[in-house]
């Protein structure tokens, strides 16, 4: 019977047991307080049941010490919950620097996944065990959500910006992932499998694909064919900011504000170049809206990430 009635999901990431530990702590606190209330209610209900219609119990106004106790004790406990939860949350939002980066694009109603070596898959995500993996995600239409219960991670996937999750799978196997933000008619069909493999198997799988061209190389081709290269190159025809080592670096904008050049900023600068003007440059770049897909933008970003910050030249990965 029990295989048909699971009570807890599988633990398949480094995060899973830590989320479960916090979950059990909250269950413990809840059972204690719910139990306390239920036992007291039953006890009072039996002990002080009405014995005669003429019963007239004496009034009790209240008790300041009791009020203080049942305000302060729950308050202190909630602070523990808050701190513990926030600590985990901060880690959920801090991917390790060496994480393997995989691009995910959601659309009604499928998931498109692209590995750094150019390997693509749909509604399946192959990842290596024992290595941090970061998903850089966006949507082509409405809001979706990428949710892997066995890893205890999820994040909404929005049109017009990037979100990310990361995980470190600990057990080879197959795990379900779901779209968990309602996205229209076939929402419940927008599901797939994460396939966690031993590293050699994963390498085999990666090289088994017919890709041959890496994501960054695809990005480089777009960078050339769309003409980005003619301006964004030292000595180009029009003066444009250098993109060397741009990703993750601070950028000074017209008006004095400084922002970090993250993926969302680069995406915005391609589609809506006038939204944020780099200090000292003219807003002359045209918008590439309509001439590049979400996958293409992600490929260009992958390409930009390969720039060598010292030399300002592209380096083949």
């Amino acid at each position: 019977m029990w295989e048909n009635l699971p009570l807890f999901p599988q633990q398949a990431s480094t995060l899973a047991p830590r989320v479960d530990a916090l979950y059990f702590f909250l269950i413990l606190v809840s059972v204690f307080f719910a139990g306390l209330i239920f036992v007291l209610i039953f006890y009072f209900a039996v002990k002080y049941r009405r014995r005669s219609d003429a019963d007239q119990p004496r009034a009790i106004e209240g008790s300041i010490p009791l009020e203080i106790v049942w305000t302060v004790v729950p308050f202190a406990l909630t602070l523990v919950m808050f701190g513990w939860g926030a600590w985990l949350f901060a880690e959920i939002h801090t991917p390790p620097r060496d994480a393997l980066e995989i691009n995910v694009v959601g659309k009604q109603w499928m998931w498109k996944i692209q590995h750094p070596n150019g390997q693509q898959e749909i509604n399946e995500l192959h990842v290596p065990v024992g290595q941090a993996v970061k998903l850089l995600m966006t949507s082509e239409d409405v809001i979706h959500d990428f949710f892997v219960p066995a890893f205890r991670v999820k994040s909404d996937v929005l049109p017009g910006r990037y979100t990310q999750i990361w995980f470190h799978a600990t057990k080879p196997g197959e795990y379900r992932f779901f779209c968990s933000q309602y996205c229209g008619t076939q929402h419940s069909g927008m599901i797939g499998r994460v396939i966690v493999m031993e590293i050699p198997d994963f390498q085999n799988w990666l090289s088994g694909g017919a890709a041959g061209v890496s994501t960054a190389q695809l990005g480089e081709k777009l960078f050339e064919s769309l003409g980005c290269v003619s301006c964004h190159r030292p000595g180009g025809a029009v003066q444009a900011p250098s993109l060397a080592g741009l990703v993750g670096k601070p950028v000074k904008l017209e008006g004095g504000k400084t922002i970090t050049a993250d993926e969302s900023y680069i995406r915005e600068s391609i589609l809506d170049p006038r939204a944020k003007i780099v200090a000292g440059y003219q807003p002359v770049m045209p918008s590439y809206k309509g001439s590049i897909s979400e996958d293409g933008i992600m490929q260009i970003i992958a390409y930009l990430k390969t720039f060598n910050p010292q030399e300002g030249e592209a380096r083949r990965p």
Binding site: F8, P57, V142, I143
Partner: protein, 547 residues
């Protein structure tokens, strides 16, 4: 005080017959009945949607209805139950009936505005029903953009117009209550002699007035973006989808407190009566209502922890969400302490009130899981959330509503219902509810997402349990509809105060006549003066006023 003279006594129900006497009434007690009938109608419709959903979910495959239909069912279930049943339920029915009676007033401050509120409510409801008849809406009751504003092929505009219109009914009712409570209290009815039912309606009214305009304008913007292709929320047109979520939850989180605060008020009245005790820590319970109303406005973004909003914003909203749990906990502890050394009877209203405490405690504690950031990432948008808010809204608000209806039924109708059936129904509702919704906590932690028409087979056993529970729950709701209707004609005559309860509403006739009291009541004792010490201080009802 309640001696029938020759011929039937004049009261608010026989003050006039015929359609006009009801549709043009300005008597708050009659308007309460108009609302009672309308929201019962919406409750039955919303319940029918839920029934179809639960039957569909018996099997993992989507086989009863198509995905498109299922999506419309859960959307219409949410829209109907929230905007047309739960939000008006206790305030517009019991609040309307009782606020003037409890504070010793003849009527609400603006009787004609009160009637107008009902018409506005019906107009909004009509739009929503037309939308349902024209194919329904499939966005979820949350109307998330850009799905609702651009992609959905359903009756979004008609539905949001309906909700927009209905919002004015809430605002006007809130305004009416606030003015009435401020200006029309009987002599001697000081703020700290008010029944806690009044405090909770005061807090609810504040939310009505401050929150409802925000949802109204937000839904108008969705409609405008849909019709005129504006770029407000749709990123493809330069809008921001998260802006919608902020605006939506700025109202819709406090709306949860609109639904639960009045039920807390009912529970305070019922517990005091059936324990024959003043509510333990009266002023703490009263201020907890206000604290919930105020803090409730500061926690909206806890619905957005995985939405892509800033990590720091999430942390602040998580902390604030824990703060709002404290006043709720204070109430539960005080209700429990009220039972201590009381004289406890287990009439049907008390069973509902005790059931409320149990279910609300579970609902509140599971709210802590959702406020905890590290756990919310996993359970957000799963059945855990569904279970949590049904424990609050059905286990809490509906139990409170049913308890209140049973408690004040003798006052409203002059008759009592069959007590045995009522107790049985309360028990069936409690058991059915837990069987329906407790498995959903487990489903949620296992990872079953909400709004799924079909689901993986490993979730089936728990879904079957939930559907079985839902059929028990439906039976539990059906029984009261039958015996309460029966009691209108065949119930025993109740008398002025069948529960030996305290409070001005129990000092006047059952049913009250159109002017509520024979003479202006004067209050000389605290609320819930159940112990003998202050007994007999109430001003006896004097010479009848002109009706």
């Amino acid at each position: 005080m309640n001696i029938p003279s020759a011929g039937p006594r004049r009261h608010y129900l026989n003050a006039g017959y015929g359609v006009r006497s009801w549709l043009l009434t300005t008597d708050h007690k009659r308007i309460a009945w108009l609302y009672l009938l309308s929201i019962t109608f919406f409750f039955v419709i919303g319940g029918a949607f839920a029934t179809l959903m639960r039957i569909e979910l018996l099997t993992p495959q989507g086989d009863l209805v198509q995905a498109e239909t299922y999506n419309r069912l859960f959307t219409m279930h949410g829209v109907t139950m929230i905007f047309f049943f739960l939000i008006p339920s206790i305030p517009a029915v019991l609040g309307n009936f009782l606020v003037p009676l409890m504070i010793g007033a003849r009527d609400l401050a603006f009787p004609r505005l009160n009637l107008a509120s009902w018409y506005v409510f019906i107009l909004g409801g009509a739009f929503t029903l037309i939308a349902a008849a024209a194919g329904g809406v499939d966005t979820g009751w949350t109307f998330y953009t850009p799905y609702s504003s651009r992609y959905s092929n359903s009756q979004v505009v008609l539905t949001v117009v309906g909700i927009f219109i209905t919002g004015f009914s809430s605002i006007l009712t809130g305004l009416n209550f606030l003015v009435t409570i401020h200006k029309m209290r009987a002599p001697g009815m000081t703020w700290f002699r008010l029944p806690l039912f009044i405090w909770s309606h005061y807090a609810t009214s504040i939310i009505f007035i401050l929150g409802t305009p925000v949802i109204a304008i937000t839904l108008v913007l969705v409609g405008l973006e849909r019709i005129f292709s504006l770029g407000i929320f749709d990123p493809a047109r330069g809008g921001d989808p998260l802006l919608f979520q902020h605006l939506f939850w700025f109202y819709s989180h406090p709306a949860v407190y609109i639904m639960i605060l009045p039920a807390m008020g009912v529970v305070s009245e019922v517990i005091a009566c059936f324990a024959r005790k003043r509510i333990f820590g009266y002023s703490f319970v009263a201020f907890a209502s206000l604290a919930i109303a105020v803090l409730g406005f500061l926690v909206w973004a806890h619905h957005m922890f995985v939405s892509g909003q800033s990590v720091y914003a999430s942390m602040v909203f998580s902390l604030l969400s824990f703060f709002v749990a404290i006043p709720s906990a204070i109430k539960v502890f005080n209700w429990t302490a009220t039972l201590y050394k009381g004289s406890i009877a287990f009439d049907a209203p008390m069973l509902y009130a005790l059931g409320f405490i149990g279910l609300f405690t579970i609902g509140g504690l599971t709210g802590l899981f959702l406020a905890t950031l590290g756990i919310d990432v996993h359970v957000h948008d799963t059945y855990f959330v569904i279970a949590h808010f049904h424990y609050i809204m059905v286990g809490g608000a509906v139990m409170g509503y049913l308890g209140g209806i049973h408690f004040w039924w003798p006052k409203m109708t002059g008759r009592t219902y069959p007590e045995g059936w009522a107790k049985l129904a309360a028990l069936i509702v409690f058991v059915g509810f837990n069987l329906t919704f407790f498995p959903q906590f487990i489903l949620g932690y296992l990872g079953m997402p909400r709004r799924y028409h079909a689901y993986p087979p490993e979730f089936q056993v728990l879904n079957v349990m939930s559907t079985a529970g839902a059929s028990v729950l439906a039976l539990g709701y059906l029984i009261p509809i039958i015996y309460l209707t029966w009691s209108l004609r065949y119930g025993r005559i109740a008398g002025t105060n069948p529960w030996m309860a305290k409070g001005l509403e129990w000092e006047t006739h059952s049913q009250p006549h159109s002017a509520n009291f024979d003479a202006q009541p004067i209050v000389r004792e605290e609320a819930y003066a159940y112990s003998g010490e202050e007994r007999g201080d109430l001003q006896p009802l004097g010479k009848p006023v002109d009706v």
